[in-house]
Symmetry: C2
Subunit: 158 residues, 2 copies
DNA sequence: CAGTATTCCTACTTAGTTGGTAGGAACAGT
DNA sequence: ACTGTTCCTACCAACTAAGTAGGAATACTG
């Protein structure tokens, strides 16, 4: 499995949003509680704060956040007190959700999804291997939620 | 998981060698038994025959075969009746062996192996995810041998 | 309404990888 | 010698990933 910078950044950004953007030293950067409104998540975190806390190039991150929003994983708000928040609780967003939002399918053979593989002759059985691999990966990434990762002990679900 | 053309070709070529280069229509192309010698495998198959039977560009395939030989998976012989044969029985060569021979590690994060991932802050747990994914992939590809894939029913071991 | 802060969106640049080619040199048999 | 094959190096073209730049749209504040 190849994890691109895009996927990596996306996950780190989602985790930072989920944690209310806790920096490396455990400092909260601008909580901005936004009390008294029906928006999802609790605190709006600015893109610049995310970029800072996880050392991600800001303008690159912005494109990623946009993808996450379009995939329905993030809620966003513009303007002076704008920022991003999770669209669902962290317990209901899996690693797989994030990966698929920014990177397409988990397994691909020469750029195409594993299902579309034109094998012939002795190679026919290979297709099943890729499908099995895809299933094995999905099992891990779909069972692990952002909330699991934020709990320091026992982070990966088995 | 991304399966590159190189990995894909390598597996198809290995399967074709294991099958004695059986073409799409089930025709045997030049068995060339090479009786009376202690070489591994049974029949030497020429690179050109492999390229033909699995529609792989010949000169590209040659580089791949070289890698497979250097990894100790193939035996080769030059000259008029030269060709390639498996260095071990097909039951003792796994899909993972072939993938690692041509492609390095199975899981990589931004080009680096999963173990070497410098996460900090809230993202610390991600490393364990990639390790779990790597283990899950390995479980599939290391349990499946070339011989399994050549048996048409029940090709992928569970 | 003016001004400011932020997300949103598009186009572009740059560097590296992938897929593939070409042309021989080394080697084995006849 | 001659032929057929693997071996090896260098090279090329296209694509993708990673990152940049510059604004337009939107939301709040005084």
């Amino acid at each position: 499995m190849y994890v691109s910078a895009r996927s990596d950044y996306a996950l780190r950004a989602m985790l930072a949003v989920a944690a209310g953007c806790t920096g490396p030293d455990g400092d909260h950067a601008d909580p901005a509680p936004r009390a008294g409104s029906g928006e999802p998540g609790g605190e709006l975190v600015k893109a610049a704060a995310l970029a800072e806390s996880q050392s991600i190039p800001l303008s690159f991150l912005q494109g990623i956040l946009l993808d996450l929003r379009r995939a329905g994983l993030l809620f966003s708000h513009r303007g002076t007190d704008g920022g991003y928040a999770l669209a669902r609780p962290a317990t209901e967003i899996s690693v797989g959700d994030v990966l698929r939002a920014v990177g397409g399918s988990l397994t691909s053979v020469r750029g195409l999804p594993a299902e579309v593989a034109g094998y012939h002759g002795v190679a026919t059985g290979l297709r099943d291997v890729w499908l099995a691999v895809d299933g094995a990966i999905a099992l891990v990434v779909d069972r692990t939620t952002l909330a699991d990762l934020l709990a320091e002990d026992r982070s990966v679900r088995r």
